[in-house]
Subunit: 515 residues, 2 copies
């Protein structure tokens, strides 16, 4: 058994049985070994950003990592943006990057590159596997490292000769780290802050945004009068009818400041203290209000869910029984706009749907108008690097089994990783993609005004306009059936039809160029 | 005048007047300033790899750098693969990467990342501009650094506040380094090696592959009986009728070894000693034959062209007057194959064409069957990171003025950066793209056999097959007119028509899945 074979078997034994890949010559022994380990599902992507984003989406839904297989430094570069998003989502990913044979590095062949340097920013665990004797153990430790806590991108650099040489075979799974329990004094400090008469809020993030934990937090909020908030872009938020509603902190700092205004205590649970997404002249970067004390109940490497339960016990707060009511909006009519598009989503969103939201400005109303839809999951762009949606939907569909995946995708963002559609078609994945085509990087048009540079000229504006994209043709070119909607009625019925079909489908929503 | 404005003016004054960009919020002041400096042409790309590859193609034809504008670490990640190719091509690129405002880094906002760490592998000159007082000077030095010698990717990290704050204005161009003259003893040593009766070859690379210098080298070869060779993947090779033919060293090590077999002296001029592209079990990585002495006539930072002239003087060798004859193949008929496709290229290739070759296995015959076409340039994938062709063709078209650009593009490679077509359409660039669609990563199918892993199973094979791509639809989706050819006759006439049209066009050549 060669090193590649031992590594893949070890992955499977450690619970990693999907590999999203875009391999090259140095990975051919890994690819060859796939036939010897049928338990490993291999999914080909035509671009590395699809593979890494799919691994992110997969693990968010499966709660365990997938592997990724990339080709040397440039392949890692192409996958980096979505690994950045995975890092920000605290998603576990086993990131295997093939490399030249150990002895070949001295040749400085054209594809020679410093893989570890590229990986460093997205990956706190990086190891180069040096020998077929150790490669299986390296793989087992990569899986354990990816699990965290918190979940992280574990990068295993895999030289070609380590794959092709004889190995002693697979190893048992490596021990995983248990999340550290939060000490009592921190529970008590948070309880004291929430018991005080001063305005307080509980800010949830990461692992705490599943329905059951939200109910616990909701109970705390009800018992103490605290506000219940969630981070701006959760990796995965369970929401909809029957689950207490949580206000996400707004993307625009001006609105976030309104949400946080007057607070004297902010208790954060697996979430960072709120900051502005970008810096702007004469605007604050740190959004914690003056005079507000930050209380870290649990940090990402700790047992945040357990800490919330302990806090509820300390406060004598039962889980919340209040929840969002089942309430769908009316079927929209007339012009297709960001608002009627979102209204249609609220009308049709099926129970158990997984919404992968990269709608950006055009998706602004989507969250609000689906708040009363049957329970569903909402996955967000955690790291701000656009082009995550279509890949993440691809991976989520593989993890989510029978659940419908709906990818709400802005036109500009779609174009970074549209190759995802080909993988969706090949794998027959049940993903409905809604392209919000307003012919513009609309978020940048808004930001161009917000940065205080004065009225923009025609050339600046031209750099933010992206007219002429025909997503029906693009989808057809990759084997996905697509339709185009120009009215609210068309959109609603086309979306219904797409969701009723098995396999991938795409609906292009033609929207006005401004909100 | 703010920092952004001062920087752009300085670029223009330093001879950099094209900027390929995919900006985000932190670059909005840069974008805003474009209207104040109309001499800077700004070209939008829908994906960063298009922008960086376009800058590579542009500079190969213009002999001066373009600027690139990218959005923080993830944007740089997306652009990295083609910067890797640019680095291997020794192409000058001014790589501007926008960053958060200097004081915002402390917030660890979602897009915060270690840009310098990502840039390190592709860029030996990296500077973070710290203040609007110095930004113009930083820009001038970036341009000088990009020029080299050798040409390189100079990365300027540009915090948003450095752009938006008041600056003292532009500065004069920075002094450039002159290539160092090669010392006489090295000229004499090379002359002695070539004068000996032992088998010798002259291996040309980098700056020495323009027609005039090839004639000088050809004269040396004729005078001494040395073989005339070129590196495997030249950044830019002038060739065709009227120019001495130079044999490129083969990609496959087995064939390269045949070319080099028996040599006792190898004189390299702005080229590396030959190595195998990848490592294989039981095959050599270093291809310099045993008993062959390597003579470095000129390294990339030296005046290689001057050194060849001195060597010719030392040897009393006049420039070669022999050259490839004008000779086009017959118009092909029958089945469309890699060979008849290449034959058609030989029939129609116009004088002065710029061929951007990412044909990979399907393009194997293209070079041979165009060897007697009217003089043209041939641009190769220098770094092995696929997805360079369509972007490089985009940039080359901007640099090349009235010359026709022909992008020979393999299907698999095309899918990494196909967004290039949108930029070609928007800018009305005269690029004819030929997609070689064999439904396969054919080079990997070949490599899978070569790596000695035994017969591949169905799952391995499946990872190398990419059926179902319709490039006519994909091109239409981005505004480029396209046709599909299934016979040699169709292909030849469609290619003729595409080349006769102004503006971008695409011809999809449907090829058998194996050579």
């Amino acid at each position: 058994m060669n090193g590649a074979n031992a590594l893949i078997r070890t992955f499977v034994d450690s619970g990693v049985d999907v590999c999203f890949m875009n391999p090259g010559t140095s990975e051919m022994h890994f690819v060859h070994a796939l036939d010897d380990v049928p338990e490993m599902r291999s999914v080909l992507a035509l671009f590395e950003g699809v593979a890494t984003g799919a691994a992110d989406g997969y693990a968010r839904m499966a709660d365990r990592p997938a592997a990724v297989l990339l080709h040397l430094g440039p392949g890692l570069g192409n996958g980096l943006a979505n690994l950045h998003n995975a890092r920000r989502a605290k998603t576990p990913v086993v990131n295997v990057v093939g490399d030249h044979a150990t002895y070949h590095a001295a040749c400085d062949a054209p594809l020679q590159s410093d893989i570890a340097s590229i990986a460093r920013g997205v990956s706190s665990w990086i190891r180069t596997s040096r020998s077929p004797e150790t490669v299986a153990n390296d793989g087992a430790e990569a899986v354990a490292a990816a699990h965290g806590p918190p979940g992280q991108v574990a990068t295993l650099i895999l030289p070609a000769d380590v794959c092709w040489l004889d190995s002693p075979g697979p190893v048992a799974p490596a021990a995983r780290t248990t999340p550290a329990a939060v000490p009592d004094d921190r529970i008590e400090a948070a309880a004291a802050a929430l018991r005080s008469d001063e305005p307080a809020a509980l800010l949830l993030g990461g692992t705490t945004l599943r329905a059951e934990t939200i109910r616990v937090a909701g109970g705390i909020a009800e018992a103490t009068g605290a506000k219940l908030l969630a981070e701006t872009f959760p990796a995965r938020l369970e929401r909809g009818a029957g689950i207490p509603a949580v206000d996400r902190i707004a993307y625009l700092a001006e609105f976030a400041q309104m949400q946080l205004d007057g607070l004297r205590h902010l208790v954060v649970v697996d979430a960072a203290s709120p900051v502005s997404f970008f810096a702007y002249p004469d605007k604050a970067s740190d959004l914690l209000p003056e005079g507000c004390t930050l209380h870290v109940l649990a940090s990402p490497e700790e047992d945040a869910v357990g800490a919330l339960r302990s806090l509820a016990d300390e406060l004598g707060a039962a889980p919340s029984t209040s929840a969002a009511a089942l309430q769908r909006p009316d079927r929209p009519t007339g012009a297709l706009t960001a608002e009627t598009m979102a209204q249609a989503l609220g009308v049709v969103l099926p129970e158990g749907a997984v919404v992968v939201d990269e709608g950006n400005t055009a998706g602004l109303f989507a969250s609000g108008l689906t708040a009363g839809a049957p329970p569903h999951d909402w996955l967000c762009l955690t790291g701000g690097s656009i082009g995550y949606g279509a890949p993440a939907a691809t991976g989520a569909a593989i993890a989510a089994g029978d659940r419908k995946v709906l990818n709400l995708e802005a036109d500009g963002s779609a174009m970074y990783t549209l190759q995802s559609l080909w993988t969706q078609a090949r794998e027959g994945l049940d993903v409905t993609t809604v392209i919000l085509n307003n012919g513009s990087y609309a978020v940048l048009n808004m930001e161009l005004d917000r940065v205080g540079a004065g009225t923009a000229g025609p050339r600046a504006k031209e750099m933010l306009d992206i007219p002429g994209l025909d997503f029906v043709a693009l989808a057809a070119g990759m084997g996905v059936e697509a339709t185009r909607a120009t009215t609210a009625e068309e959109f609603t019925s086309q979306l219904e039809r797409a969701l009723a079909t098995e396999g991938p489908a795409l609906v292009e929503a033609v929207l006005p160029s401004t909100l």
